[in-house]
Symmetry: C2
Subunit: 326 residues, 2 copies
């Protein structure tokens, strides 16, 4: 069922995104559509629409709110790529490589504003309290995303980042938008306060699991399949869960080899550090991502809905996130 | 009256901005407060609060909405300074000079989201249609600002920009946020649809006049008083109204001297081009800014309000904008 359902959601969401992302200032709109049109898994709108379907919510609203979270997500990717100086994403040159930094900043700003516009339109005419909750949650999420990205950058300069600090950073940088997507679906669809809270938890735990898998793929994936360079996390000094665990558990000699690879441009040293980090941390990280997925499923099981089919679909999404290869 | 009124508005607005712009990720919040704390004329919140006062609107709402437009304005300044590679603003190094480009991008993104958060809070509980109008107008304004900045950048590479194109660019880049401020005051304060439209026009015309004065000051002001380098518009190839007019009316020989100065780093050539541009265009630009101010006052005169004192104050604001020295 997931495939057919997801195909329809993606089609409807992309239609709305095309409608909203057109304007007279061609270069700006082209730059702002470029990354979105390069593809992406559309997990966040899928989660949002399905969460709304749990309560038989209005599809017109959930499609548009789903478009809003997808557009917001792409805004953050464009700006993050500038900040991290990443040159490849989804198998294409990043926006700032293609159009220059000024236009990429602006394209991100435009998407940020368009995301708000879409969300405002999607909750227009909805019960007043729900509309306000949705808008506040959305704004709060962008704030958390910015804070998470700031922490991620600060961590690049530190060697003593703890697992606890990592989880807090990931909660903001990655998990908040998943949490926002699932709980927005609950708010818009008509869930109770408790349902909305559990959907938030469901999304949040999936988001943490997603980021841990991302960290793993950054060291193990096939470069062409991933659509971006492997080892870039190591090269940038990103404190992934794998590196944090490895720095904690490595022997003195192993630690030296790891530190020789991190932030290095020497492919050999990078590869050696990566392989060492994997040896020490892969099993641990895999289990950790599994355990967050389990917590996500627990939260989901507490959501009251008579739509068993969609609930099962949301369970499949959780599995998909943990098992993905790109 | 303007001074006392404006002092109070600024105090209340700055108090709210401080409240909203505090958070645990210290460096990010510090970077995001830095430019706002460096000062600024706070014209937009002043216009918003006064416009709301025309209809005896709730001051709690208008102060918060005023804070939202000021925060939004500062977000755009931070990002514009990165794009234009400007190093000085309000007499201080710009945010990206002090904290680096990545943190400056992020500080702007945070302010952008915070501005929406403030506006959402300010219209919460307001009549539903008015709340929706306010939110949509705000989102639309950010979209126009981005489009205006894109046009401004594109114009740097062109030599055939017309006055009509210039006005359209300025309408988006500068005037939209003034228009948004004045009409938001009308919406929140309780004005009729017609009042809101006239306040929009009032703000828009003031905004255009403001930008023309800005163009003039960029060639004539005292550098220390202005808080940023003079001639930077010429150095960046910005198509100001003065340069457009001068390129149109110059003799062949004058045109050569102007083109020799534009985008040049030679202070002598810059000064020669600036003086020539002023000779040809200063009177024209001054009259143009005056005529937009007159249109602003006409629009204001059509707004129905029993608060004559505040209306007079909004008239004074229009004069202030046209006569300012920095």
């Amino acid at each position: 069922m997931l495939e057919e359902y997801s195909r329809q959601v993606i089609e409807e969401v992309e239609k709305r995104i095309r409608q909203y992302l057109s304007g007279d200032v061609h270069e700006l709109y082209e730059a702002s559509r470029y990354l979105i049109e390069a593809g992406g898994k559309r997990l966040r709108p899928l989660m949002l629409v399905a969460s709304s379907d749990l309560f038989h919510g209005d599809r017109k609203r959930s499609y548009l709110a789903g478009s809003a979270v997808e557009v917001l997500h792409n805004f953050t990717l464009i700006h993050d790529d500038i900040m991290d100086q990443d040159t490849l994403r989804r198998g294409r040159p990043t926006v700032h490589v293609k159009w220059g930094v000024p236009m990429a900043i602006l394209a991100g700003d435009l998407l940020h504003a368009k995301a708000f516009e879409m969300l405002i339109d999607s909750v227009s005419g909805l019960d007043e309290a729900r509309a306000n909750d949705a808008l506040r949650l959305f704004a709060k999420s962008v704030i958390e995303l910015s804070e998470g990205q700031a922490l991620d950058m600060q961590f690049e300069e530190r060697w003593d980042v703890t697992e606890r600090e990592y989880i807090e950073m990931v909660r903001k940088k990655t998990a908040q938008l998943f949490a926002c997507s699932a709980s927005l679906g609950g708010i818009i669809g008509g869930g109770t306060e408790k349902d909305v809270k559990n959907l938030f938890l469901y999304g949040e735990k999936i988001g943490i699991s997603f980021q841990i898998v991302d960290d793993i793929l950054g060291l193990t994936a096939d470069e062409r399949e991933l659509g971006k360079p492997v080892y870039s996390d190591l090269r940038e000094g990103k404190k992934t869960i794998l590196l944090i665990k490895a720095l904690r558990d490595a022997s003195e000699e192993e630690r030296k080899r790891i530190l020789a690879g991190v932030k290095s441009n020497d492919q050999g040293k990078l590869r050696d550090a990566a392989s060492l980090v994997l040896t020490i941390s892969l099993e641990y990280a895999t289990r950790l991502s599994e355990s967050y997925k389990t917590e996500a499923l627990q939260a989901l099981s507490l959501v009251k809905s008579d739509n068993e089919e969609v609930k099962k679909l949301l369970m499949e999404v959780a599995e998909l996130v943990t098992k993905r290869r790109k």
